[in-house]
């Protein structure tokens, strides 16, 4: 039985192998290859994808041969909260306006931290809302809605 000696390299190799194969195959199937003289849209990505797959394969192979460090523990809460706060901001901006979107973002992002105190977080949210409205909407005149449509 092959044993994975270097988990970090194993997963990195898998990632590169997968991404490379995907790009190469997708390009070859969907776009025109052309010839070396007149390269079609598939040519360069197919070659690069193939190269990436080979590199991934080598890294993967190496992970069975050479001992390496473990993958450090993934922390899902900060990751999830930070990503969710960004996505929430983007998709709440148009329906709810900047004020509420910013507030939601700050609260969700703060949930990803070590300590969460409502009072602190709300104060921070208010401060950031005021700052962004003054700087970005008033001073730099970015075209963001401030409030939900039906109130303005």
């Amino acid at each position: 039985m092959l044993k994975i000696k270097s988990p970090k390299d194993f997963w990195a190799g898998m990632m590169f192998l997968g991404v490379g194969l995907f790009f190469a195959v997708w390009a070859a199937v969907n776009y025109q290859m052309g010839s070396a003289v007149r390269m079609g849209p598939a040519y360069f990505p197919a070659v690069l994808g193939g190269l990436l797959a080979v590199l991934g394969f080598v890294i993967l192979g190496g992970s069975f041969a050479v001992k390496g460090p473990k993958v450090p523990q993934l922390h899902f809460r900060p990751l999830f909260m930070v990503l969710a706060s960004c996505i929430a901001y983007g998709y709440l901006m148009k329906p709810l306006g900047m004020v509420l979107a910013t507030a939601v973002m700050v609260v969700v992002a703060a949930l990803g931290g070590h300590e969460f105190r409502w009072k602190e977080v709300l104060m921070l949210a208010v401060a950031l809302v005021v700052f962004s409205v003054l700087v970005f909407v008033k001073a730099l005149s970015l075209p963001f809605p401030l409030w939900p449509d039906r109130f303005s």
């Binding site: 790009f23 900060p78 990751l79 930070v82 602190e120």
Partner: protein, 502 residues
């Protein structure tokens, strides 16, 4: 004297009040954000980039350059006072700078860092002014095959000099190249890898990639760390170094400047390599190496001068060849493209006011750094005491605003989050994001030049080896790879053998 005429033109541009203002704002904002622990120059520039979109190209570039050295200097302040490197290049400054701060000598450490950086910045600016024009002239003669080989060389050099595993770095470059191809193919008009999503037809904005890979991923990684940091919030007194300090610092500053200027020009070089190199040199030739790591002022002066010199001279390949040597320069090229300027040697001849104005403003920006930072040090210290739980939501809000303002489309923020996830995974798997950004910027350019070269040579791939300049770059790339790969292979084999025997 051409140089003087050119520099004069540059200073005329740079000292116009509006450009002075933007340089000043850039330096100030850069320092302000660079001081924050865990926020490096790349994240700082990516975050502040959208502010410059509405400026003229000259003003935008002057401001971005200001942000760059501002954030670098801010990083040193954090390194000295908190022992947290704001960016990789300040790791070295932590070693002795923080020890000096613990001995109550934070003031001289900060002052030497500022003055050393200023001196290095002046010298490096002169070097850019002398080296860049002939290099650009040479590059104007490059055809597509030379360009392609140059990009191969640049990317390989960047991976070789980056830290970490070589093969993973190369894989990240290829990954970046592929991501750069997403969008409409310029030659055929075919939509590639857009999966029917209309937002992807213009490709992925590199600001979004940079903010996700560097900004978001950094924040998530920082949130994992626990523990308090010891901040020297006490008043920093005795800012001015003693005569003894000066006597011990001037030679390291000179050596650091020379080393940094040289290393900065190399692809993949820049600030990081320069500061590490300078520290090693100072420790080697010092008469009392045992003081290093315990607060030797040479260990601050040398690396600080070197990293500033390297930061400046890394503009040379960017400005003359249009090839980014590191992630910061990739961002600069991206900024140029957003301004509608094709990076490359023609920038110098077609837009002399941009080229020389930027160079002159570097000198002015460095002077501003010293003038602004030494008196403002109290404010920066205050900033350092702000807990991270207040900082990171604020940084996130600013990044989200910046990305959203690109095209008022939530899609962009979603993509930023996706790259944040990818960046976090890459950190965990020890895959450097910087080479990926380089590849991402160069992907379309490389394809374009490859296509043209092959068309001109009628499909003969040996053209890359028969044209002398192109062949030179290719041979240099192979040599570089061999130099690094061979010892690594030997070591790996030894490890395998050692295991089998055990």
């Amino acid at each position: 004297m051409d140089i003087f005429a050119n520099l004069l033109l540059g200073f005329e541009v740079a000292v116009s009040p509006i450009h002075l203002l933007y340089a000043g704002i850039g330096v100030l904002l850069g320092t302000l954000i660079g001081v924050l622990p865990g926020v490096g120059p790349v994240a700082t520039i990516a975050m502040l980039l959208p502010i410059t979109f509405n400026l003229s190209p000259v003003a935008a570039l002057i401001m971005l350059a200001g942000i760059y050295y501002g954030s670098q200097y801010g990083g040193s302040t954090t390194a000295i006072l908190v022992n947290i490197p704001g960016e990789a290049a300040s790791v070295v400054t932590c070693l002795d700078g923080y020890q000096m701060a613990r001995q109550g000598r934070a003031g001289p450490a900060l002052a030497v860092a500022a003055l050393g950086s200023f001196f290095a910045g002046c010298v490096a600016t002169l070097i850019i002014a002398t080296v860049a024009p002939p290099l650009a002239e040479l590059a104007l003669k490059f055809g597509p095959s030379e360009y392609f080989s140059l990009m191969v060389f640049g990317l390989i050099a960047a991976t070789v000099l980056a830290h970490g595993s070589l093969i993973k770095a190369i894989a990240m470059v290829v990954f970046g190249l592929l991501l750069g191809l997403i969008g409409t193919d310029v030659n055929s008009g075919v939509l590639r890898f857009t999966f029917g999503i209309p937002e992807l037809s213009d490709g992925i904005g590199f600001v979004i990639v940079a903010m996700g890979m560097f900004g978001i991923a950094e924040i998530v990684s920082n949130l994992e760390l626990k523990g308090d940091r010891e901040v020297f919030t006490k008043k920093v007194t005795h800012l001015f170094p003693t005569r003894e300090d000066f006597k011990r610092s001037w030679a390291p500053v000179l050596r650091g400047t020379a080393l940094g200027s040289f290393l900065g020009i190399l692809p993949g070089g820049g600030a990081l390599l320069s500061s590490f190199g300078a520290y090693t040199v100072e420790k080697k030739i010092s008469k009392h190496p045992e003081e290093f790591g315990k607060g030797a002022i040479e260990g601050v002066a040398g690396p600080e001068a070197a990293n500033n010199a390297g930061a400046q001279t890394s503009f040379i390949p960017m400005l003359t060849l249009g090839i980014p040597g590191n992630a910061v320069m990739a961002l600069m090229i991206g900024a140029l493209m957003i301004q509608g300027i094709a990076p490359g040697p023609q920038v110098m001849t077609e837009k002399p006011e941009l080229f020389w104005g930027l160079i002159a403003s570097m000198w002015i920006g460095n002077a501003m750094l010293v003038i602004l930072n030494l008196p403002l040090i109290g404010i920066w210290i205050k900033l350092l005491t702000v807990p991270y739980r207040f900082l990171y939501p604020s940084i996130l809000v600013f990044m989200a605003i910046g990305v959203f303002s690109l095209s008022n489309n939530p899609w962009d923020v979603l993509v930023m989050a996706a790259f944040g996830l990818l960046g976090y995974i890459c950190v965990k798997l020890e895959c450097e994001p910087a080479p990926m950004i380089l590849g991402f910027i160069l992907g379309p350019l490389m394809e374009e030049n490859l296509r043209r070269a092959m068309l001109l040579s009628r499909g003969d791939a040996t053209v890359f080896l028969t044209k002398p300049i192109s062949a030179g770059f290719m041979i240099a790339s192979v040599i570089l790879l061999l130099i690094v790969a061979l010892p690594a292979l030997r070591k790996k084999r030894e490890e395998v053998f050692a295991e089998e025997q055990a």
